[in-house]
């Protein structure tokens, strides 16, 4: 069965995120002063064949650990779509 996986990779909250800061300043300049704590990450979508949603999730987690996220600087969440 083919599962679609949505991976969300974000810079670790304790680390400086200059992209998030720049976007926050730009939003403020456009009049959206209410936007705070802006952070910029990365979304990755992929499809994979697996026997079950659990297997799909386990494989996708391995992909995140090995390549898609850097364990030193980033955290990830993933969602498996049936």
């Amino acid at each position: 069965m083919t599962y679609r996986v949505h991976v969300r990779v974000m810079p670790r909250a304790t680390l400086l995120d200059p992209q998030g800061q720049a976007v926050e300043h730009a939003l403020a300049a456009l009049g959206f002063q209410e936007a705070t704590h802006v952070r910029v990450g990365r979304a990755i979508e992929l499809e994979l064949n697996a026997a079950s949603p659990d297997e799909a999730k386990a494989r996708a987690e391995q992909m995140c650990e090995k390549l898609l996220a850097n364990p030193v600087t980033e955290d990830y969440t993933l969602e498996v779509e049936d």
Partner: protein, 234 residues
């Protein structure tokens, strides 16, 4: 004669100056394509700067899985000297041959300018020609050079003398907010716990030929020769 392997990935663009710098120091340098699995008798591995795999995903993240990296890993595990310059440093961090990571510069801009470095560890295969405290000037050219690591790793790097070079001002003080990229503790280069794997963001390869400018970086390449000959400069 010392044999240096200069590894080229798709997108590497500092291989020529790295070969030239090694040759000027008196080494024989050969280029190894990233699909190769054999370093062809290399005594030293040099990972040059550039944009391997277009910096896709993260700088160095994909190069890390090239076939040649298994040979580089074995060479390093056997105590062989490895130097990563700029993108080479990023690859070594992604490959976990060095701790930490290199993130987007704090002010987001690509920084291309000379920097002042202080030698903090003159006991590696690439810095033994210098003296601790020497001030060197050489260029940086990077968008993702902000060295980060967790507090415990930084404490260990500092405590074990594994910060090899640090960004400093003309007075020799840490650059602080003026640093090119916002690295923690102004760290510009580090080594592994054995000292044989060294990575730095600045480019000694671009400051190694007195015919075209200052040559403060030439010592990195002369050091490897003296280190291997067992005739330490000092």
């Amino acid at each position: 004669m010392l044999r240096a392997a200069v590894v080229v990935f798709p997108g590497t663009n500092c291989d020529r100056e790295t070969v030239r710098a090694a040759e000027l120091a008196g080494a024989e340098a050969h280029v190894v394509w990233h699909r190769e699995r054999d370093l062809r008798g290399a005594d030293v591995v040099l990972l040059p700067g550039g944009f391997s795999y277009g910096d896709y995903l993260r700088s160095g993240a994909i190069a890390r899985f090239s076939p040649v990296m298994e040979a580089v890993r074995r060479h390093a595990a056997d105590g062989g000297p490895v130097l990563g310059i700029c993108n080479g440093f990023q690859i070594l961090c992604e490959a976990h041959l060095l701790p930490g990571a290199l993130m987007r510069n704090a002010r987001l801009t690509y920084v291309s300018r000379p920097v002042r470095l202080r030698v903090e560890n003159a006991d590696t295969p690439f810095t033994c020609e210098y003296r601790k405290g020497d001030i060197l000037v050489m260029p940086v050219g990077h968008g993702e050079g902000r060295f980060v690591a967790d507090a415990e790793t930084v404490r260990r790097l500092e405590g074990e003398g594994r910060v090899v070079v640090r960004y400093v001002t003309a007075e020799g003080e840490p650059e602080g907010p003026a640093s090119p990229n916002g690295s923690v503790n102004d760290i510009a280069g580090i080594c592994n716990d054995q000292g044989n794997v060294v990575g730095l963001m600045p480019h000694p390869d671009r400051a190694a030929d007195p015919a075209v400018g200052p040559a403060d970086g030439a010592g990195f390449f002369r050091s490897m020769i003296h280190w291997l000959a067992g005739t330490r400069a000092r």
